[in-house]
Amino acid sequence: MNRRALRFSAVVGAVALSALAVAPVFAAAPVSQATAQSLQLSIAGNPVVTQLQTVTNDGSTAHEVNSNTIPPLVGIVPANNALAAAVAVQKAGANSDGTSYACAGIAGTGSSGAVNVGTSSCNIDGKPLTLNLGSLNLDLTHLLGGDGAITTALNNALGPVISQLTVPLDGLVAQLVGAINGTPLGKISLSGGLAAVEATCTANPTAAQGHSQILDASGGHTIPISITIPTGTGSATQTLTLVNLDVNLPAKPGGTDVLVHLDAVTQDLIDELTIELDTALGGQIASLDAVTKALLQPLQNALIAPLVTALQPALQAISDNLLKITVNDVTPGDAGRSVSVNTLKLGVLGAGTSLTGSALIGGTIGHVTCGPNRALVGPPSSTPTAPPTGNSKPPTVVDSGFHGASDTTRNVLTATAALMLLAGTAGLIGYRRMLTK
């Protein structure tokens, strides 16, 4: 019985040792790998879109994982009806020979071309794409509430004339708050116009390369940041280009932060809002009874200033945090055997915007990684040769015309052939004469 137990233990031990010996093979790093992500979006650090494709190859089979969390975004941004165009443009491949590639990006209408990468390509099915990164609440309710900054400003402005009013102050404030709420203040949209954003990479067992590109509508490399404000007449809007960001920047690790002229943006916002508030208040005052109207109209300009002043911290917060754009981030890793590319990163309304209370929205368009890869069986032979000799500078003369010797050779061959033909003919004639004799 003991012997049997010993034998059993020995077998179990051998199996365990074999398993341990084999385990590292299964746990080994993949032969090749790549990821592609056309769009990533997070709110307050929580991913809401992680359209990530990951492919690894174990040396014989490619394993692909697609993470798709688009439906939540559709709920967040119902107006975005072309999201499929964005998610389609991503592709990653990992081959058993230790090579991998990836490409990801988005493109506007008419971009029927392909993002080519290494020996493969991403076909871009260009469709109109309006990609809203989210809706943010400026918390007007708080600003306009009983203790809100705007309400306080209104009270201060109206206080001196309150005794002359025939309507209660609260009622009047409520009317004006309603007017402000009805202004385009809540409908401001900021956008950047782009034609195409692409990120690509390739890798083999020894090296990886990445590339990023941003194109505008004219084929150039600028991102126009625009503000669109309804004019108050129907559905008409006015669009003002706040700044044209030059993104024609060389790729580098970490990318380059594109600085928005914050002061200019803020002032443009204030100017536009001043006009809109003036119009809205004027309309609201005009609808009041004649006595109140007569009292408030001279105060209109005096009301605008504190209103804008009250909004200014919020606007400054927007400016400070609205558009942190980083472009052309191509970061190598693993001693050059891997690479990560982020073509366009956007940070929208940072968490520090206490007045808004809104969350940080972060987005990346065009993200790919390639490698690190390895050769399946040992490092691939790179055809060992003797170290190159000779001049290391490119040639300025390529002397690849052959003359002289070939003429001689050809002439000699021709003459020899002619002589042989002549001799042969003479021989035949002689042989024939001999036969006829």
Binding site: G108, T109, T130, G134, S189, A375, P394, H403
Partner: protein, 210 residues
């Protein structure tokens, strides 16, 4: 309420760099850079062994003395490299028989193949043009710089025989496609991907001298 958005509404920018829309899924990359061994250009019936050659101290590159062979500048990129340019040259013989006598008859899209120990790399011809000797010297760095480009193949031979000498060079550029996957069709030459086109000389002539 402020809607912060990013719109990509603009039409009309194709970001493909290839000459067409053919997919490159039938190719994969060479496992590692490898010395070129054999040059094959079906359209001009060229099939020749490749030998490494050097640039001399006067920056002259001379093909192998056997005009049936092709020379590879051994400081240029190897096929399968991710960067650089691969420079091959072969003789033209004005009386006929030179390995690259028909180079000027190549056209954009023609298939070029280079056999290595690790596989056969396909290229697609993108440009065929003629430079005078002076133009070639002036643009040498752009044409042949081994540190630039994405493994473009450059084929060079002489042309313009005056009865005494050759006055010009025929230059062919070809973009790498990769190693054809097993079972992929050989009847069609996919068009080349050019991620970051190597610098090309300003205003390269497009006509071919006879």
């Amino acid at each position: 309420m402020v809607i912060a958005g990013f719109a990509i509404p603009s039409p009309g920018i194709a970001i493909g760099h290839g000459l067409g829309t053919t997919s490159h899924s039938q190719y994969h990359a060479l496992a590692a850079p490898s010395d070129p061994l054999l040059l094959i250009v079906p359209s001009i019936r060229l099939r020749a062994p490749i030998l490494p050659i050097q640039v001399d101290s006067h920056r002259v590159l001379t093909p192998p003395s056997d005009f049936h062979e092709v020379g590879w500048w051994d400081r240029s990129a190897k096929p399968g490299s991710l960067t650089g340019q691969t420079l091959l040259t072969g003789h033209t013989v004005h009386t006929g028989g030179g390995v690259m006598n028909e180079l000027g008859n190549m056209r954009a899209g023609d298939l070029v193949q280079i056999k290595t120990k690790l596989g056969i790399v396909d290229y697609a011809t993108t440009d065929v043009f003629v430079y005078t000797k002076a133009q070639l010297a002036q643009n040498a760095d752009i044409l042949f710089d081994p540190k630039h480009g994405t493994n473009r193949l450059v084929l060079v031979t002489c042309t313009g025989w005056t009865g005494h000498d050759y006055t010009s060079n025929i230059i062919v550029f070809a973009a790498p496609l990769g190693v054809r996957n097993t079972g992929a069709s050989k009847s069609k030459v996919p068009l080349p991907p050019i991620l970051t086109p190597a610098r090309t000389p300003a205003n390269p002539p497009t006509s071919i001298a006879d």
